[in-house]
């Protein structure tokens, strides 16, 4: 009798204990992985990240990038997301992950992390700037120089 009572007591105690247990499931599926790195290829590692469904205030994920500068999340089909990564010194990125037929497509919006690189981009910028100022020079030269204008050198 005493044994039965003890067994019953143990079973009754086990039920509430199970209520505190965290169940887990391991499954493999498709996720979006956003990788963030500086222009020289150094990962934006261990920095603050948030993921929101576009137009929503409540983030679906708050966390940090991993050692490789990656953040991964599982998107709902047909939903676009905005991923923001913040480094303490003001670097970071905002990336829009567009949903298209259930498959996510990367569409970067802006990023200081990809801020440089590419000799072609630098050359293009230089050409545009020089072209702009040479165009202005032609206009000014055509209109005639004012006596109060500065002429360096």
């Amino acid at each position: 009798m005493l044994r039965r009572l003890l067994l019953a007591a143990v079973l009754l105690a086990a039920a509430p204990a199970a209520a505190h247990e965290v169940q887990h499931h391991v499954e493999r599926g498709e996720a979006v992985i956003v990788t963030l790195e500086y222009a020289d290829g150094v990962p934006l590692a261990y920095e603050e990240v948030e993921v929101r469904a576009e137009g929503e205030d409540q983030p679906i994920l708050l966390g940090k990038t991993d050692v490789e500068g990656r953040i991964a999340f599982v998107p709902d089909s047909g939903t676009s997301y905005v991923v923001r990564a913040f480094a303490q010194d003001g670097h970071g990125a905002q990336v829009r992950v567009a949903a298209s037929d259930g498959e996510a497509e990367m569409a970067p919006v802006s990023s200081s992390a990809r801020g440089t690189g590419g000799v072609g981009r630098i050359l293009l910028g230089v050409v545009l700037i020089l072209g702009l100022f040479l165009g202005l020079r032609r206009i000014v030269a055509r209109d005639g120089a004012s006596p109060q204008r500065i002429s360096q050198g």
């Binding site: 003001g90 905002q94 919006v109 630098i122 910028g125 700037i129 020079r137």
Partner: protein, 220 residues
């Protein structure tokens, strides 16, 4: 200091746009009135140099990157207003054409890097002139980087207080002043050294080809 979109709240960038619009109108009017056909290509070359300097990231310990700006060089050669307009153009091009920095952060960056940086360089150069030409040039370059960086740290660090959700969570840049002042300013103390040296070397090189720094009375 190329801050991406989504880091600054509308309270910040709308205010900066309003202030910037007034300063840009003044600056463009002065540049149009005072630069002639000889000066314009030279301004273009230094603006292109500033663009290149801002596009070249220099890695620093900790994984982040910094870059030079050429603001003091422009300000001391062609005046604060010209430097402000040219740096604003560079920042707008970088954000609009190349995605370097957010388009919404351009007004803030232009005010801090372009306007504050340029006039800080001019003011420091005048203040330190008595200590020697190279000291004044170096100081102008150093402060033209550090002062805007400090102000950018304040702007970023105030975002959690300026724009938070109903649950108190920051809607934009999440770190406060206790973090940003150190994280932003300290790297720029070193960047300022490079900017100072660059300013000295470039101004001296320009003098050798007959381009003198702006006189004490100031220019555009």
């Amino acid at each position: 200091m190329h801050v991406p979109d989504g880091f600054l709240g509308p309270q910040t960038y709308v205010s900066a746009t309003v202030v910037g619009a007034g300063l840009w109108s003044v600056g463009i009017a002065r540049v149009r009135r005072q630069l002639d056909a000889v000066a314009l290509p030279r301004v273009g070359v230094l603006t292109a140099l500033a663009f290149v300097l801002m596009m070249i990231s220099i890695p620093i310990p900790g994984g982040s990157t910094v870059h030079f700006g050429g603001v003091a060089l422009l300000a001391l050669t062609f005046g604060g207003w010209t430097a402000f307009v040219c740096i604003s153009l560079v920042l707008l091009m970088q954000a609009g054409l190349f995605g370097v920095g957010g388009i919404t952060s351009v007004p803030v960056a232009a005010l801090l890097i372009g306007f504050v940086g340029a006039w800080t360089a001019v003011a420091v150069h005048r203040l330190l002139r008595g200590l020697g030409d190279r000291v004044a040039l170096f100081g102008a370059g150093w402060f033209s980087v550090v002062v805007p960086a400090a102000l950018m740290a304040v702007v970023l660090g105030l975002q959690p207080a300026v724009a938070a959700g109903s649950d108190g969570r920051p809607l934009f840049f999440p770190f406060g002043l206790d973090v940003t002042l150190t994280a932003v300013i300290v790297p720029h103390l070193l960047v300022g050294v490079g900017e100072g040296l660059l300013t000295v070397m470039m101004i001296e090189a320009l003098r050798r080809i007959g381009v003198e720094p702006v006189p004490a009375g100031g220019r555009a």
